[in-house]
Protein backbone atom coordinates (compact mmCIF):
# COMPACT_ATOMS: atom_id res chain seq x y z
CA UNK A 1 0.00 0.00 0.00
CA UNK A 2 1.14 3.53 -0.76
CA UNK A 3 0.06 6.06 1.82
CA UNK A 4 0.28 9.83 1.59
CA UNK A 5 -0.41 11.65 4.84
CA UNK A 6 -1.03 15.32 5.58
CA UNK A 7 1.01 16.78 2.75
CA UNK A 8 0.84 20.58 2.85
CA UNK A 9 2.53 23.18 0.69
CA UNK A 10 2.35 26.97 0.71
CA UNK A 11 4.04 29.54 -1.52
CA UNK A 12 4.24 32.59 0.72
CA UNK A 13 0.69 33.20 1.85
CA UNK A 14 -0.87 31.14 -0.92
CA UNK A 15 -2.00 27.68 0.12
CA UNK A 16 -1.28 25.17 -2.65
CA UNK A 17 -1.93 21.89 -0.83
CA UNK A 18 -3.86 21.51 2.42
CA UNK A 19 -3.18 18.33 4.43
CA UNK A 20 -3.58 16.01 1.46
CA UNK A 21 -4.22 12.36 2.37
CA UNK A 22 -4.64 9.38 0.07
CA UNK A 23 -3.78 5.74 -0.30
CA UNK A 24 -3.31 3.53 -3.34
CA UNK A 25 -3.12 -0.27 -3.24
CA UNK A 26 0.01 -1.55 -4.98
CA UNK A 27 -0.66 -2.37 -8.63
CA UNK A 28 -3.72 -0.12 -8.96
CA UNK A 29 -4.36 3.32 -10.37
CA UNK A 30 -6.02 6.27 -8.68
CA UNK A 31 -7.42 8.93 -10.98
CA UNK A 32 -7.24 12.44 -9.69
CA UNK A 33 -9.59 15.02 -11.14
CA UNK A 34 -8.84 18.70 -10.78
CA UNK A 35 -9.05 22.05 -12.51
CA UNK A 36 -5.92 23.96 -13.49
CA UNK A 37 -4.38 25.64 -10.47
CA UNK A 38 -5.88 23.15 -8.04
CA UNK A 39 -2.41 21.97 -6.97
CA UNK A 40 -2.30 18.72 -8.99
CA UNK A 41 1.14 19.25 -10.51
CA UNK A 42 2.62 20.44 -7.21
CA UNK A 43 1.37 17.27 -5.50
CA UNK A 44 2.95 15.09 -8.18
CA UNK A 45 6.24 16.99 -8.04
CA UNK A 46 6.35 16.56 -4.27
CA UNK A 47 5.74 12.82 -4.61
CA UNK A 48 8.44 12.61 -7.31
CA UNK A 49 10.92 14.39 -5.04
CA UNK A 50 11.23 17.41 -7.31
CA UNK A 51 9.72 19.76 -4.72
CA UNK A 52 9.77 19.73 -0.94
CA UNK A 53 6.52 19.79 1.01
CA UNK A 54 6.13 21.97 4.10
CA UNK A 55 4.92 18.91 6.00
CA UNK A 56 3.60 15.41 5.47
CA UNK A 57 4.75 11.89 4.73
CA UNK A 58 4.85 9.53 1.77
CA UNK A 59 5.05 5.86 2.74
CA UNK A 60 5.61 2.95 0.36
CA UNK A 61 5.07 -0.48 1.92
CA UNK A 62 6.09 0.92 5.31
CA UNK A 63 9.14 2.80 3.98
CA UNK A 64 9.19 6.60 4.35
CA UNK A 65 10.16 8.21 1.03
CA UNK A 66 9.48 11.89 1.67
CA UNK A 67 13.09 12.80 2.56
CA UNK A 68 14.70 10.67 -0.14
CA UNK A 69 16.14 12.47 -3.17
CA UNK A 70 14.26 12.04 -6.45
CA UNK A 71 16.82 9.62 -7.90
CA UNK A 72 16.48 7.21 -4.94
CA UNK A 73 12.66 7.05 -4.82
CA UNK A 74 11.92 5.09 -7.98
CA UNK A 75 8.84 7.24 -8.41
CA UNK A 76 8.64 8.43 -12.01
CA UNK A 77 6.93 11.62 -13.10
CA UNK A 78 5.41 11.75 -16.58
CA UNK A 79 4.35 15.13 -17.87
CA UNK A 80 1.94 16.26 -20.57
CA UNK A 81 4.66 16.87 -23.16
CA UNK A 82 6.93 13.85 -23.60
CA UNK A 83 10.29 14.90 -22.22
CA UNK A 84 12.57 12.70 -24.30
CA UNK A 85 16.31 13.24 -24.36
CA UNK A 86 16.74 14.83 -27.79
CA UNK A 87 20.32 13.66 -28.38
CA UNK A 88 19.49 9.99 -27.73
CA UNK A 89 17.79 7.44 -29.99
CA UNK A 90 14.52 5.77 -29.03
CA UNK A 91 16.55 2.75 -27.89
CA UNK A 92 18.78 4.87 -25.66
CA UNK A 93 15.81 6.73 -24.24
CA UNK A 94 14.07 3.46 -23.36
CA UNK A 95 17.26 1.99 -21.91
CA UNK A 96 18.14 5.10 -19.89
CA UNK A 97 16.73 4.04 -16.51
CA UNK A 98 18.19 0.56 -16.85
CA UNK A 99 21.64 1.90 -17.73
CA UNK A 100 21.52 4.18 -14.69
CA UNK A 101 20.84 1.04 -12.65
CA UNK A 102 23.87 -0.60 -14.33
CA UNK A 103 21.91 -3.52 -15.79
CA UNK A 104 24.05 -5.97 -17.85
CA UNK A 105 23.78 -5.12 -21.52
CA UNK A 106 22.37 -8.48 -22.65
CA UNK A 107 19.44 -8.31 -20.22
CA UNK A 108 19.01 -4.63 -21.00
CA UNK A 109 18.74 -5.24 -24.73
CA UNK A 110 16.23 -8.01 -24.24
CA UNK A 111 14.06 -5.85 -21.98
CA UNK A 112 14.19 -2.86 -24.31
CA UNK A 113 13.27 -4.90 -27.38
CA UNK A 114 10.41 -6.65 -25.58
CA UNK A 115 9.01 -3.36 -24.37
CA UNK A 116 9.48 -1.70 -27.76
CA UNK A 117 7.44 -4.52 -29.24
CA UNK A 118 4.72 -4.05 -26.65
CA UNK A 119 4.42 -0.35 -27.30
CA UNK A 120 4.65 -0.81 -31.08
CA UNK A 121 7.96 0.97 -31.62
CA UNK A 122 10.31 -1.86 -32.52
CA UNK A 123 10.81 -0.43 -36.00
CA UNK A 124 11.71 2.99 -34.65
CA UNK A 125 14.46 2.11 -32.16
CA UNK A 126 17.19 3.86 -34.13
CA UNK A 127 15.25 7.07 -34.64
CA UNK A 128 15.71 10.27 -32.69
CA UNK A 129 12.76 11.93 -30.89
CA UNK A 130 12.34 14.62 -33.53
CA UNK A 131 11.63 11.91 -36.11
CA UNK A 132 8.60 10.61 -34.18
CA UNK A 133 4.97 11.72 -34.05
CA UNK A 134 3.43 13.13 -30.85
CA UNK A 135 1.77 9.83 -29.99
CA UNK A 136 4.97 7.84 -30.63
CA UNK A 137 6.95 10.21 -28.44
CA UNK A 138 4.49 9.78 -25.61
CA UNK A 139 4.74 6.01 -26.01
CA UNK A 140 8.53 6.20 -25.65
CA UNK A 141 8.10 8.42 -22.62
CA UNK A 142 5.73 5.94 -21.10
CA UNK A 143 7.86 2.92 -22.01
CA UNK A 144 10.96 4.57 -20.57
CA UNK A 145 9.13 4.93 -17.26
CA UNK A 146 7.58 1.47 -16.97
CA UNK A 147 10.68 -0.45 -18.06
CA UNK A 148 12.32 0.19 -14.70
CA UNK A 149 9.16 -1.07 -12.93
CA UNK A 150 8.97 1.96 -10.66
CA UNK A 151 7.36 1.92 -7.25
CA UNK A 152 4.88 4.43 -8.52
CA UNK A 153 4.13 6.26 -11.74
CA UNK A 154 2.84 9.82 -11.59
CA UNK A 155 1.03 10.84 -14.75
CA UNK A 156 0.35 14.55 -15.15
CA UNK A 157 -2.31 14.78 -17.88
CA UNK A 158 -0.07 12.66 -20.15
CA UNK A 159 -2.46 12.48 -23.09
CA UNK A 160 -3.78 16.03 -23.01
CA UNK A 161 -1.84 17.18 -26.05
CA UNK A 162 -2.88 14.25 -28.28
CA UNK A 163 -5.77 14.13 -30.74
CA UNK A 164 -8.89 12.15 -29.78
CA UNK A 165 -8.03 8.98 -31.74
CA UNK A 166 -4.41 8.78 -30.55
CA UNK A 167 -5.56 9.58 -27.05
CA UNK A 168 -7.99 6.61 -27.05
CA UNK A 169 -5.25 4.28 -28.31
CA UNK A 170 -2.82 5.54 -25.68
CA UNK A 171 -5.36 4.98 -22.92
CA UNK A 172 -5.78 1.37 -24.05
CA UNK A 173 -2.05 0.86 -24.31
CA UNK A 174 -1.48 2.33 -20.87
CA UNK A 175 -4.09 0.08 -19.25
CA UNK A 176 -2.62 -2.95 -21.00
CA UNK A 177 0.99 -2.26 -20.08
CA UNK A 178 0.32 -1.10 -16.54
CA UNK A 179 -1.51 -4.36 -15.85
CA UNK A 180 1.30 -6.42 -17.38
CA UNK A 181 3.95 -4.63 -15.33
CA UNK A 182 1.77 -4.28 -12.19
CA UNK A 183 2.33 -0.53 -12.09
CA UNK A 184 0.98 1.56 -9.23
CA UNK A 185 -0.03 4.95 -10.51
CA UNK A 186 -1.60 8.28 -9.77
CA UNK A 187 -3.24 9.58 -12.92
CA UNK A 188 -4.02 13.28 -12.96
CA UNK A 189 -6.50 14.59 -15.51
CA UNK A 190 -9.15 17.25 -15.91
CA UNK A 191 -11.24 15.03 -18.19
CA UNK A 192 -13.88 13.10 -16.25
CA UNK A 193 -14.16 10.41 -18.94
CA UNK A 194 -10.46 9.76 -18.84
CA UNK A 195 -10.55 9.63 -15.03
CA UNK A 196 -13.23 6.95 -15.20
CA UNK A 197 -11.42 4.92 -17.88
CA UNK A 198 -8.01 4.97 -16.24
CA UNK A 199 -8.72 4.76 -12.51
CA UNK A 200 -9.53 1.92 -10.14
CA UNK A 201 -10.10 4.48 -7.38
CA UNK A 202 -10.72 8.23 -7.66
CA UNK A 203 -10.10 11.60 -6.10
CA UNK A 204 -11.00 15.23 -6.64
CA UNK A 205 -8.60 18.04 -5.83
CA UNK A 206 -10.15 21.47 -5.20
CA UNK A 207 -8.13 24.45 -4.08
CA UNK A 208 -5.46 22.24 -2.54
CA UNK A 209 -7.86 19.94 -0.66
CA UNK A 210 -8.29 16.34 -1.77
CA UNK A 211 -11.39 14.16 -1.43
CA UNK A 212 -10.94 10.44 -2.18
CA UNK A 213 -13.56 7.96 -3.43
CA UNK A 214 -12.72 4.29 -3.40
CA UNK A 215 -15.54 3.14 -5.65
CA UNK A 216 -16.83 4.33 -8.99
CA UNK A 217 -20.35 4.68 -7.57
CA UNK A 218 -19.20 7.05 -4.85
CA UNK A 219 -17.24 9.13 -7.37
CA UNK A 220 -20.17 9.37 -9.79
CA UNK A 221 -22.48 10.55 -7.01
CA UNK A 222 -20.28 13.56 -6.31
CA UNK A 223 -21.91 16.66 -7.83
CA UNK A 224 -18.56 18.28 -8.63
CA UNK A 225 -17.11 15.20 -10.34
CA UNK A 226 -18.95 16.36 -13.46
CA UNK A 227 -20.20 12.82 -14.22
CA UNK A 228 -23.88 13.74 -13.75
CA UNK A 229 -23.47 16.70 -16.11
CA UNK A 230 -21.87 14.46 -18.71
CA UNK A 231 -24.69 11.89 -18.45
CA UNK A 232 -27.32 14.63 -18.67
CA UNK A 233 -25.64 16.06 -21.77
CA UNK A 234 -25.77 12.75 -23.63
CA UNK A 235 -29.35 12.17 -22.51
CA UNK A 236 -30.37 15.62 -23.69
CA UNK A 237 -29.14 15.08 -27.24
CA UNK A 238 -30.74 11.66 -27.62
Amino acid sequence: MITIKDISKNYGNTVILRRVQLSIPVGSCRSLLGESGSGKSTLLKILAGLEKPDSGSFIYQGEELINKPAEKRSVVYLSQDPLLFPHMTVYDNLAYGLRVRKMPSSTLEEKVITLAQQIGLKEHLKKHPHQLSGGQRQRVNFGRSVIITPRMLLLDEPFASLDATTRGKMQELYLDISRKYQITSLFVTHDVREALIMGDTYGILRNGSLSCYDTRALFIQQPDSGVAEEINFWKSIQ
Binding site: A48, L50, A70, E71, S79, L83, Y96, S145
Partner: protein, 254 residues
Protein backbone atom coordinates in the same frame (compact mmCIF):
# COMPACT_ATOMS: atom_id res chain seq x y z
CA UNK B 1 21.73 52.19 -60.90
CA UNK B 2 21.87 54.36 -57.77
CA UNK B 3 21.17 51.30 -55.70
CA UNK B 4 24.05 49.39 -57.34
CA UNK B 5 26.45 52.28 -56.77
CA UNK B 6 25.37 52.47 -53.11
CA UNK B 7 25.96 48.74 -52.74
CA UNK B 8 29.46 49.03 -54.23
CA UNK B 9 30.25 51.96 -51.95
CA UNK B 10 29.26 49.93 -48.87
CA UNK B 11 31.19 46.89 -50.05
CA UNK B 12 34.26 49.00 -50.77
CA UNK B 13 33.93 50.62 -47.34
CA UNK B 14 33.96 47.27 -45.55
CA UNK B 15 36.75 45.83 -47.69
CA UNK B 16 39.13 48.81 -47.62
CA UNK B 17 40.86 48.08 -44.28
CA UNK B 18 41.56 44.49 -45.27
CA UNK B 19 43.00 45.63 -48.58
CA UNK B 20 45.07 48.26 -46.77
CA UNK B 21 46.44 45.73 -44.27
CA UNK B 22 47.33 43.19 -46.95
CA UNK B 23 48.86 45.85 -49.27
CA UNK B 24 50.98 47.40 -46.53
CA UNK B 25 52.17 44.01 -45.28
CA UNK B 26 53.66 43.17 -48.70
CA UNK B 27 54.93 46.67 -49.53
CA UNK B 28 58.36 48.14 -49.10
CA UNK B 29 59.41 51.80 -49.43
CA UNK B 30 55.89 53.17 -49.27
CA UNK B 31 56.68 56.80 -49.87
CA UNK B 32 54.19 59.50 -50.83
CA UNK B 33 52.78 59.76 -53.45
CA UNK B 34 53.39 56.22 -54.77
CA UNK B 35 50.23 54.24 -54.30
CA UNK B 36 51.91 50.88 -53.72
CA UNK B 37 55.64 50.54 -53.18
CA UNK B 38 57.71 47.58 -54.24
CA UNK B 39 56.06 44.24 -53.50
CA UNK B 40 57.93 41.96 -51.09
CA UNK B 41 57.26 39.14 -48.67
CA UNK B 42 60.27 40.11 -46.55
CA UNK B 43 58.11 41.38 -43.69
CA UNK B 44 56.53 37.96 -43.25
CA UNK B 45 59.96 36.36 -42.95
CA UNK B 46 60.42 37.97 -39.53
CA UNK B 47 57.96 35.41 -38.21
CA UNK B 48 60.57 32.70 -38.67
CA UNK B 49 63.53 34.70 -37.49
CA UNK B 50 62.68 34.95 -33.80
CA UNK B 51 61.34 38.47 -34.25
CA UNK B 52 59.14 40.07 -31.61
CA UNK B 53 56.07 39.47 -33.79
CA UNK B 54 56.49 35.70 -33.68
CA UNK B 55 56.79 35.89 -29.91
CA UNK B 56 53.71 38.15 -29.68
CA UNK B 57 51.68 35.74 -31.80
CA UNK B 58 52.56 32.86 -29.51
CA UNK B 59 51.81 34.93 -26.39
CA UNK B 60 48.45 35.99 -27.82
CA UNK B 61 47.59 32.43 -28.80
CA UNK B 62 48.61 31.09 -25.39
CA UNK B 63 46.63 33.74 -23.48
CA UNK B 64 43.53 33.43 -25.68
CA UNK B 65 43.56 29.61 -25.54
CA UNK B 66 44.03 29.59 -21.77
CA UNK B 67 41.27 32.16 -21.27
CA UNK B 68 38.98 30.30 -23.62
CA UNK B 69 39.35 26.91 -21.90
CA UNK B 70 39.49 28.22 -18.33
CA UNK B 71 36.57 30.65 -18.71
CA UNK B 72 34.39 28.06 -20.42
CA UNK B 73 35.10 25.53 -17.71
CA UNK B 74 34.61 27.95 -14.80
CA UNK B 75 31.58 29.54 -16.50
CA UNK B 76 30.03 26.10 -17.00
CA UNK B 77 30.61 25.10 -13.36
CA UNK B 78 29.11 28.38 -12.10
CA UNK B 79 26.23 28.05 -14.53
CA UNK B 80 25.42 24.51 -13.33
CA UNK B 81 25.54 25.70 -9.72
CA UNK B 82 23.22 28.63 -10.48
CA UNK B 83 20.73 26.89 -12.73
CA UNK B 84 20.70 23.14 -12.11
CA UNK B 85 17.24 22.06 -10.99
CA UNK B 86 15.86 25.56 -10.60
CA UNK B 87 15.15 28.84 -12.29
CA UNK B 88 17.78 31.42 -11.35
CA UNK B 89 16.60 34.92 -10.60
CA UNK B 90 17.39 37.29 -13.46
CA UNK B 91 18.70 39.81 -10.91
CA UNK B 92 21.62 37.56 -10.09
CA UNK B 93 22.48 37.10 -13.75
CA UNK B 94 22.13 40.84 -14.36
CA UNK B 95 25.29 41.31 -12.27
CA UNK B 96 27.22 39.65 -15.08
CA UNK B 97 26.59 42.63 -17.35
CA UNK B 98 28.46 45.14 -15.21
CA UNK B 99 32.08 44.04 -15.64
CA UNK B 100 31.32 43.57 -19.32
CA UNK B 101 29.86 47.05 -19.75
CA UNK B 102 32.77 48.95 -18.19
CA UNK B 103 35.60 49.63 -20.63
CA UNK B 104 38.37 47.09 -19.93
CA UNK B 105 41.02 49.80 -19.98
CA UNK B 106 39.16 51.79 -17.31
CA UNK B 107 38.63 48.70 -15.18
CA UNK B 108 42.32 47.86 -15.54
CA UNK B 109 43.36 51.42 -14.68
CA UNK B 110 41.22 51.42 -11.54
CA UNK B 111 42.58 48.04 -10.47
CA UNK B 112 46.27 48.51 -11.23
CA UNK B 113 46.98 49.53 -7.62
CA UNK B 114 45.77 46.13 -6.35
CA UNK B 115 47.71 44.27 -9.03
CA UNK B 116 50.82 46.20 -8.03
CA UNK B 117 50.32 45.32 -4.37
CA UNK B 118 49.76 41.66 -5.22
CA UNK B 119 52.86 41.52 -7.41
CA UNK B 120 50.77 40.74 -10.48
CA UNK B 121 51.40 43.99 -12.33
CA UNK B 122 53.30 43.49 -15.57
CA UNK B 123 52.99 39.72 -15.39
CA UNK B 124 51.30 37.11 -17.54
CA UNK B 125 49.31 35.79 -14.58
CA UNK B 126 48.12 39.34 -13.87
CA UNK B 127 46.84 39.69 -17.43
CA UNK B 128 45.11 36.29 -17.24
CA UNK B 129 43.40 37.20 -13.96
CA UNK B 130 42.38 40.62 -15.27
CA UNK B 131 40.91 39.18 -18.47
CA UNK B 132 39.00 36.60 -16.45
CA UNK B 133 37.03 39.46 -14.83
CA UNK B 134 35.43 39.94 -18.23
CA UNK B 135 35.40 36.48 -19.79
CA UNK B 136 33.99 34.50 -16.86
CA UNK B 137 30.86 36.66 -16.35
CA UNK B 138 30.46 36.59 -20.13
CA UNK B 139 30.66 32.77 -20.12
CA UNK B 140 28.08 32.58 -17.31
CA UNK B 141 25.76 34.91 -19.24
CA UNK B 142 26.21 32.87 -22.40
CA UNK B 143 25.53 29.57 -20.61
CA UNK B 144 22.43 31.06 -18.97
CA UNK B 145 20.76 31.01 -22.40
CA UNK B 146 21.16 27.22 -22.42
CA UNK B 147 19.02 26.65 -19.32
CA UNK B 148 15.60 26.68 -20.90
CA UNK B 149 12.57 25.38 -19.07
CA UNK B 150 12.85 22.25 -21.21
CA UNK B 151 16.42 21.51 -20.05
CA UNK B 152 15.44 21.96 -16.40
CA UNK B 153 12.46 19.64 -16.83
CA UNK B 154 14.52 17.05 -18.73
CA UNK B 155 17.02 16.99 -15.87
CA UNK B 156 14.18 16.50 -13.40
CA UNK B 157 12.81 13.69 -15.56
CA UNK B 158 16.22 11.97 -15.59
CA UNK B 159 16.39 12.25 -11.80
CA UNK B 160 13.03 10.58 -11.34
CA UNK B 161 14.33 7.77 -13.57
CA UNK B 162 17.08 7.24 -11.04
CA UNK B 163 19.98 9.33 -12.40
CA UNK B 164 22.19 11.04 -9.82
CA UNK B 165 23.28 14.66 -10.27
CA UNK B 166 26.63 13.60 -11.76
CA UNK B 167 24.95 11.23 -14.22
CA UNK B 168 22.44 13.91 -15.24
CA UNK B 169 25.30 16.32 -15.91
CA UNK B 170 27.29 13.71 -17.84
CA UNK B 171 24.42 12.15 -19.83
CA UNK B 172 21.97 15.00 -20.30
CA UNK B 173 23.42 18.43 -19.60
CA UNK B 174 26.82 17.95 -21.25
CA UNK B 175 25.64 16.44 -24.56
CA UNK B 176 22.81 18.96 -24.85
CA UNK B 177 25.07 21.92 -24.15
CA UNK B 178 27.78 21.06 -26.70
CA UNK B 179 26.77 23.93 -28.98
CA UNK B 180 27.02 26.40 -26.09
CA UNK B 181 30.37 24.99 -25.03
CA UNK B 182 31.73 25.44 -28.56
CA UNK B 183 30.27 28.94 -28.77
CA UNK B 184 31.71 29.88 -25.38
CA UNK B 185 35.16 28.54 -26.27
CA UNK B 186 35.13 30.55 -29.50
CA UNK B 187 33.75 33.75 -28.00
CA UNK B 188 36.08 33.75 -24.98
CA UNK B 189 39.01 33.07 -27.30
CA UNK B 190 38.01 36.02 -29.47
CA UNK B 191 37.43 38.37 -26.51
CA UNK B 192 40.92 37.60 -25.26
CA UNK B 193 42.50 37.60 -28.73
CA UNK B 194 41.07 41.01 -29.64
CA UNK B 195 41.68 42.59 -26.21
CA UNK B 196 44.09 45.51 -25.92
CA UNK B 197 43.31 48.01 -23.15
CA UNK B 198 43.30 45.75 -20.12
CA UNK B 199 46.34 43.82 -21.35
CA UNK B 200 48.31 47.01 -21.91
CA UNK B 201 47.46 48.48 -18.51
CA UNK B 202 47.87 45.35 -16.35
CA UNK B 203 50.62 43.87 -18.54
CA UNK B 204 52.42 47.24 -18.36
CA UNK B 205 53.95 46.62 -21.78
CA UNK B 206 55.76 43.56 -20.44
CA UNK B 207 53.16 41.14 -21.74
CA UNK B 208 53.40 41.72 -25.46
CA UNK B 209 50.37 40.34 -27.17
CA UNK B 210 49.75 40.98 -30.88
CA UNK B 211 47.43 43.91 -30.14
CA UNK B 212 50.06 45.50 -27.92
CA UNK B 213 52.65 44.92 -30.65
CA UNK B 214 50.47 46.54 -33.31
CA UNK B 215 50.13 49.68 -31.23
CA UNK B 216 53.81 49.80 -30.42
CA UNK B 217 54.89 49.14 -34.03
CA UNK B 218 52.43 51.77 -35.26
CA UNK B 219 53.82 54.33 -32.85
CA UNK B 220 57.36 53.47 -34.02
CA UNK B 221 56.18 54.02 -37.61
CA UNK B 222 57.04 50.41 -38.51
CA UNK B 223 54.06 50.40 -40.80
CA UNK B 224 54.76 47.19 -42.73
CA UNK B 225 55.47 45.14 -39.63
CA UNK B 226 52.34 46.52 -37.97
CA UNK B 227 50.39 45.52 -41.08
CA UNK B 228 51.83 42.00 -40.87
CA UNK B 229 50.67 41.91 -37.24
CA UNK B 230 47.21 43.07 -38.38
CA UNK B 231 47.03 40.25 -40.93
CA UNK B 232 48.06 37.77 -38.24
CA UNK B 233 45.34 39.21 -35.98
CA UNK B 234 42.78 38.50 -38.69
CA UNK B 235 43.71 34.83 -39.11
CA UNK B 236 41.98 33.12 -36.14
CA UNK B 237 38.72 35.10 -36.49
CA UNK B 238 38.72 34.30 -40.23
CA UNK B 239 39.25 30.62 -39.54
CA UNK B 240 36.45 30.58 -36.97
CA UNK B 241 34.19 32.51 -39.32
CA UNK B 242 34.82 30.04 -42.14
CA UNK B 243 34.10 27.04 -39.93
CA UNK B 244 30.95 28.69 -38.62
CA UNK B 245 29.84 29.67 -42.11
CA UNK B 246 30.30 26.12 -43.40
CA UNK B 247 28.42 24.71 -40.42
CA UNK B 248 25.49 27.07 -41.00
CA UNK B 249 25.53 26.40 -44.76
CA UNK B 250 25.56 22.62 -44.28
CA UNK B 251 22.70 22.88 -41.77
CA UNK B 252 20.75 25.01 -44.23
CA UNK B 253 21.23 22.35 -46.93
CA UNK B 254 19.94 19.56 -44.65
Amino acid sequence: MVSRIATYIVLTFVSLPLLAAVCLSVTDSWFFPSFIGSITLEHYKVLWSGHELAHSTLVSLAIASTMSIASTFIGAVISVALHYGRHTTPRLLALGYFPYAIAPVVLGSMLQYYFLRLGLFGSLSGVLIAQSFITIPFAVLLFSTFWSDNVIRLSAQARTLGASTSIVIKDIIFPMSKRWIYLCLVQCFLISWLEYGLTRVIGAGEVRTLTVSIMSLASQASISEAAVACCLMLLPPSLIFMIQYRMVSSQAHL
